[in-house]
């Protein structure tokens, strides 16, 4: 009888372990880590941003299959927002991240493009390199 109970306990234990480790597979682990390091300070861990100051990434109207590669331009070169009161100054810009590689930017794009309710498909470093070589917002700037 005792052996029987021990067997049941072992069985339940192994089911529990497999349910927590085997069934969970995060295809965007790298992208998530990079997002939390480089993006979450402003867009927040949950991607919700900050009211009208920092855009939410949830169900983004911008982050679509057509735009996923171009979004890499925004990550690398940032978004300028001229101050309406003094156009020589910028106001609440998105800072550029010039040190991230194409692979890292791809990982971030594939994470945010398929999280937060987005279905923007996938990019890859080769395709991204091509897009990044011709960004409309390319001019590097001082932040």
């Amino acid at each position: 009888m005792r052996t029987f109970f021990a067997a049941i306990v072992v069985l339940l234990g192994s089911v529990y372990v497999s349910s927590t480790s085997c069934n969970y597979y995060n295809p965007h682990a790298q992208g998530e880590r990079l997002y939390l390091t480089h993006c979450a300070a402003c867009h927040m861990d949950d991607g919700k941003g900050l009211r009208d100051l920092i855009p939410s990434l949830h169900e983004s109207a911008f982050l679509t299959r057509e735009n996923i590669h171009f979004t890499g331009c925004l990550i690398r070169y940032g978004i300028k927002r001229p101050d309406p009161l003094d156009p020589s100054q910028e106001i609440f810009p998105m800072p550029p991240l010039p040190d991230l590689s194409e692979t890292e930017i791809s990982n971030i794009l594939n994470y945010i493009g398929n999280h937060f309710g987005n279905e923007a498909g996938y990019t890859n470093p080769v395709k991204l390199r091509e897009t990044l070589s011709d960004c409309p917002n390319r001019a590097p700037r001082q932040y």
Partner: protein, 209 residues
């Protein structure tokens, strides 16, 4: 035997509850380095200040004489911790919606770039107004100095991201200028604790409300 254990558990539970109860009704401490004047210990208090807010109104200690307030230090182009601090301030602001005796005070430490109109735009983008949340600017050194009185750090540092180095404390101050609690504005759980402390302070200062 089982009956004894049950009684023991019951007594422990009551004792634990009583412990919580007494802990919650005691006064919050008065934080900071106290001064000793003529043998009396005077708790640390926020000194006189006058700054200008996003609506070009003067803001001073008098503004907060009927309210408890939360203070922080930030700047609008800050690429590091400020958005999280602001989000935590916003969470507290929304939590105490409708209470005129709970105010918020955010000092910019980038007085050169954060003009009044820019602070105004920042507040409008957050959907908050100076009825409850003051975004203030003023003399740079006065702001850096008063940061120390709020047990915070604000210094110019060209090597820091955005040009300034500063701490991310949210500081809770009572009607008598005493610091009663503080929390790390980038830590959601610390902010939850701070909200509880604010509720406790409000019970202490206005038992009916």
């Amino acid at each position: 035997m089982i009956r004894k254990i049950k009684i023991f558990i019951l007594i422990s539970a009551v004792a634990a509850l009583l412990g919580c109860y007494s802990d919650n009704t005691g006064e919050l401490p008065r934080l900071g380095l106290p001064q000793i004047i003529n043998g009396d210990t005077i708790p640390h208090s926020i000194p006189d200040f006058t700054f200008m807010n996003q609506d070009s109104q003067w803001v001073s200690n008098e503004t907060f004489s009927q309210a408890v307030y939360v203070a922080d230090f930030f700047f609008t182009s800050c690429p590091t911790i400020c958005p999280k601090l602001t989000r935590s301030m916003l969470r507290m602001h929304d939590h105490f919606e409708g209470r005129e005796d709970v105010l918020f005070l955010s000092h910019t430490i980038d007085v050169r770039r954060d003009s009044i109109p820019r602070l105004k735009m920042y507040a409008e983008n957050l959907g908050v107004s100076s009825d409850r949340w003051h975004f203030v600017t003023g003399d740079r050194d006065e702001i850096f100095d008063i940061a120390e009185d709020y047990m915070s750090i604000a210094i110019e540092d060209e090597d820091a991201p955005g040009g300034f180095d500063h701490s991310g404390w949210l500081i809770l101050v009572d009607q008598n200028r005493h610091i009663r609690s503080y929390g790390d504005g980038t830590d959601d759980e610390a902010v939850d604790r701070l909200i509880k402390d604010m509720e406790r302070l409000l019970r202490e200062t206005s038992p009916s409300g």
